[in-house]
Amino acid sequence: MIEARELYIAPAAASRVERRALIVGVIGLILVAVGAIFRPAQFLQSYLFAYQFALGLALGSMAILMLQYLTSGDWGVVIRRTLEAAMRTLPWLAIGFLPIIAGVRELYVWARPAEAAAEGLEFREGYLNVPFFIARAIIYFAVWLAIAWRLDRWSREQDRGAALGWLKRLRRLSGPGLVIYGVTVTFAAFDWLMSLNPEWFSTIFGFLIIAGQALSATSLMILVAALLSRREPMAGVFQPRHFHDFGKVMLTFVILWAYMSFSQLLIIWAGDLPQEIPFYLPRMQSSWRWIGVALIALHFGLPFALLLSRNLKRRARSLAALAGLVLVMRVIDLFWLVAPEFRRQGLSVDWFDPVTVIGVCGVWLALFIRELKSRPMLPLRDPHLIDALSAGEQYSVNRRE
């Protein structure tokens, strides 16, 4: 076992990627930090969606981690450590929320009551006000960190092998954990994204963000698995059938995202009510519509059509390329949720937007790889590991209980 622990550490190339990501990320963040002195509003808009993307990777990974404990498939065992590493970036992301708290009055019109009253905005002041906003954010992070800490702690205990039964505990936590995740992420999505337009509301919005987070995390896992599978020690671990399963999971979330997005559009478009339609007016009647068309084509159409193919799902390289595309589209989707609220005239991209994304993602990637390196990349004492690594294509019906 001791040797095995040392065998499954991350390859040396990971450290190189980590260093480069950190350098690029820090340079990006320094650039936008300097820019923020002159144009704080622009910085905050760009930071909001870049941050939401990184947060989605971590939270989505936590959700899929709980999901794989509950469903116990082979695909979950082989990426469990990667999911955990992404989840362990949550404390850093909690710190990353501070700029949004600092700029809450700049970002959200409801936080400037005089201006909101002058514009005649009608919203629930009892809910949308700065102290309560901050209090809720603290609750969300406290809940997420508590779940993440438990999941990580018990998994580590399992690795030590001091006692059995950790898997059972992890499963028992995952059920209620997913419920709590769903509720908190929904309210966080209302607070941080939906309230950019305080009059607008959509009951589907929370679920839309959940589907997006799960999709981001799945795509990241596919990308990481494909890269790891090209090097020792993980070269022999990932098999076509694992990628086949990853592809199916990804297809599920692509469809879920598209279904939620379309339902929201159809209901609001058909209702055409004055409180609801302002969300879609700039997004459908100005040049922002081209981003919408791109989302339909590249966030749904192309991935959906390609993921139907069994061969593509089983080829690590093509699946990873598709996952990369979906990750880019996730950023663009969040950009499309945030930016039109501030730039209602039409599509415009500021240099802050890409640079902030690169900065945030670079630093996040470095933190993620650092966490990934800190543990063996397989749960070596998991009772299902042998099944997960076996070469056959057996049906897994008989094996579990």
């Binding site: 919203f123 059920g175 009951t203 929370g206 679920f207």
Partner: protein
């Protein structure tokens, strides 16, 4: 719904060895998950109608909860929110009788939910002049019972004429169906 049909069928035809407690357990989990998604939907809808500060939205919610059809709303809550929580218990998921009763309750809940959506929405339009009250007439109930009858007839015909359990898929589960690795050795 599947459970409402599957559990009596299982005991009537003696399929206990094919549809095992493990399958029922899994169906129960699925029911719990879908139930929780439904509960999530209720939560979002009620919260956002308050959050929106939109007069019409908020009126509709209050009308559902406290209005003339309050009993419909609270039956939905009882059947779809409270009853589904019993499925967290493994003992209940593994008891066919309890599962059957729960599935009946949840089916009723889903029907009442449709009633709530259609009736409370249509009886309170944006224009008060269009307001009214609705109660089912004999023809409504006749249509309801008739559709149930047709469904049950079709299903019984299906069970009677076609295999209720896929034979070839069940055979795959037999231990003899496993192809042993010796096949490789025989050749080499």
């Amino acid at each position: 719904m599947v459970l409402t049909i599957a559990i009596p069928l299982r005991s009537y035809y003696g399929l206990e060895d094919l549809v095992t407690l493990r399958h029922l357990d899994n169906c129960g989990k699925l029911m719990l998950v879908t139930g929780l998604i439904v509960d999530y939907g209720y939560m979002c809808e009620i919260f956002l109608s308050w959050y929106s500060k939109d007069e019409f939205e908020w009126f509709m919610t209050r009308n559902r909860i406290f209005g003339p059809y309050w009993m419909v709303f609270w039956s939905v809550m009882l059947c779809n929110v409270v009853a589904t929580q019993f499925l967290w218990s493994r003992r209940i998921r593994r008891s066919p009788v309890a599962l059957f009763l729960l599935s009946l309750v949840i089916n009723t809940g889903m029907w009442v939910e449709r009633y709530m959506i259609v009736v409370t929405s249509l009886t309170r339009d944006f224009m008060p002049s269009a307001w009214g009250q609705y109660a089912g007439t004999i023809w409504d109930y006749a249509v309801f019972i008739g559709t149930l009858g047709f469904f049950v007839m079709m299903m019984f015909l299906f069970v009677r004429l076609l295999p209720a359990i896929s034979i070839s898929e069940v055979r795959t589960l037999l231990p003899q169906a496993e192809v042993k690795e010796e096949a490789e050795e025989v050749v080499s």
